[in-house]
């Protein structure tokens, strides 16, 4: 978050990619895209292109890491070397390690962890192209991959960021807005339960702006949730059709 005085909102109140402040980027989600994984999904949100795969529940090695009363969720958020402007080294960066943790903690409340004691579930997220808001899109798509793998869940987790650019609270920041804007606030949400499972913020917001941003982000989550359900339904229908 730097505060260069570029204009991110034009005189018509539109953003640099032509969106209104409360408008999501175009989103495309698809479920069951990889043949080897137990569950998988793909998302495009703006220029973000992200794949998620789930393996498990499965045995855990070494065994002393297994938990007697619940499963272990493991999560790797990883960026392809070619996903960003300057080539990224394949070794995990500090940012990737932190995001792997917060994404895992955003997904965990959705899963009935006690259903499969002594097992592990692996969630692998590969960011093929990054365009701002990858952690939210990663949660959205990983949640679909978990559902696709048949993991018992309380609800899908949908995620979306809000933030502040040019004194305006806006939804779903893209790369430039994230870098040049003055605040970014990613939120993950379980709409059926009405609870927040990820919340981060960097930038500067007054209490009032903060509340507005949280609510706008949750509104975005709800709209993304509808697309998630539609993607699952599409796969379910196509399976049923191919079975008939």
């Amino acid at each position: 978050m730097s505060q260069k005085t570029e204009t991110l909102i034009d005189k018509n109140g539109l953003r640099i990619d032509g969106r209104r402040p409360d408008e999501l980027r175009p989103i495309k989600v698809e479920v069951g895209v990889l043949s080897n994984a137990d569950g998988s999904a793909y998302i495009e949100q703006g220029k973000n292109k992200i794949l998620a795969a789930v393996y498990g529940p499965k045995e855990l090695h070494p065994k002393h890491l297994a938990l007697p009363d619940r499963m272990v969720l493991r999560c790797r958020y990883h960026m392809a070397p070619f996903s960003v402007q300057e080539r990224k080294s394949p070794a995990p960066s500090r940012r990737e390690i932190e995001l792997s943790k917060v994404v895992r903690e955003a997904l965990e409340p959705a899963i009935f962890m006690e259903y499969y004691p002594r097992t592990a579930i692996d969630v692998f997220i590969e960011v093929l192209q990054a365009d701002g808001g990858t952690r939210c899109a990663s949660i959205t798509v990983a949640s679909l991959a978990l559902a696709d793998a048949g993991i018992p869940m309380r609800d899908l987790v949908a995620a979306c960021s809000a933030g502040k650019v040019d004194d305006t609270i806006v939804l779903d920041l893209m790369d430039t807005e994230d870098k040049v804007g003055s605040a970014d606030l990613p939120v993950a949400y379980m709409p059926n339960l009405g609870v927040v499972t990820l919340l981060q913020m960097d930038g500067i917001l007054t209490l009032e702006e903060f509340e507005k941003a949280v609510n706008l982000a949750i509104d975005g989550c709800k709209r993304i949730y509808a697309m998630q359900k539609e993607a699952l339904r599409a796969k379910y229908v196509s399976i049923k059709e191919s079975e008939e």
Partner: protein, 265 residues
């Protein structure tokens, strides 16, 4: 994994909290005692030790001359690093930083960076070529809960204690001159961490509470009461109401702490 002992303690802690009480006698929104010592590492450009109850964190600031990042050629470089050294807790292992120490460092970093506490452009020596690099090393010596708030306080206290040697640039070479200039901070970002236990919020959780909490929420605010960093942790969740409640308490608590420590800009 929760052992039976932890389950029993969880029940006990939760029951107390539902009555507005805590195992160590504090109120729900009460901090443990804060003790700060500054300048204890004479060989560092800045240093401080913070005791938050029994949680003990030391921070040393070292300054080197280096190159700026390509995308900020006119700014000095601020680097925050955290080590959870194994003498501080039976749960810490020697080895390269794990996700917990990386998260700790990055949350503290965001508070300082977003509040613009350190005036990075002032740390530029020659644009695009030479800048001061500030290494802020967080060293956790005893872990009794709430490492984030203790580390954020210690980092700030160490930065407030930091001095840079005087210098002038002659023909692209840095010439050191006598004397030091203190690093002036522009803001005092204070991190306030909440634990959610049995659907109630408490501030400044100590170790026993952290072991049973559902989730954690850290809200860092600046001197004007604006939020500059937020981090949810743990495998639980929060309601929107809890988040807004926490934000308001965080602003108040940070103001209190700043006042108590005399940290006003």
């Amino acid at each position: 994994m929760m052992s039976i002992v932890v389950r029993v303690k969880q029940k006990q802690i939760a029951q107390l909290i539902s009555k507005g009480k805590r195992l160590d006698g504090r109120d729900l929104y009460e901090y443990r005692d804060i003790k700060i010592e500054q300048g204890i590492i004479e060989k560092a450009e800045g240093s401080a030790k913070v005791l938050l109850g029994k949680t003990e964190v030391m921070v040393g600031v070292k300054i080197e001359v280096g190159q700026p990042f390509l995308d900020t050629p006119n700014d000095g470089v601020l680097t925050v690093n955290a080590e959870l050294v194994p003498l501080a807790s039976p749960t810490f292992e020697p080895g390269p930083p794990d996700e917990n120490s990386i998260e700790l460092a990055r949350v503290v970093d965001r508070g300082i960076r977003e509040s613009k506490a350190v005036d990075l452009p002032k740390l530029c020596i020659e644009p695009g070529k030479k800048v001061f690099v500030l290494f802020v090393d967080i060293y956790v010596l005893n872990h009794d809960g709430n490492l984030i708030d203790a580390s954020a306080l210690a980092a700030l206290a160490a930065l407030k204690n930091t001095k840079i040697f005087n210098y002038e640039v002659q023909d692209g070479e840095i010439k050191i001159k006598p004397g030091y200039t203190p690093l002036q901070l522009q803001a005092h970002p204070i991190a306030i961490t909440f634990a959610k236990i049995n659907d109630k919020l408490v501030v400044d959780p100590w170790l026993e509470e952290e072991q049973v909490m559902d989730a954690r929420l850290t809200i860092t605010t600046d001197d004007q009461g604006r939020i500059c960093a937020v981090q949810k942790g743990g495998s639980g969740f929060f309601t929107t109401k809890q988040i807004m409640e926490a934000a308001q308490i965080a602003v108040e608590k940070a103001k209190e702490i700043r006042k108590k420590l005399g940290w006003v800009t």
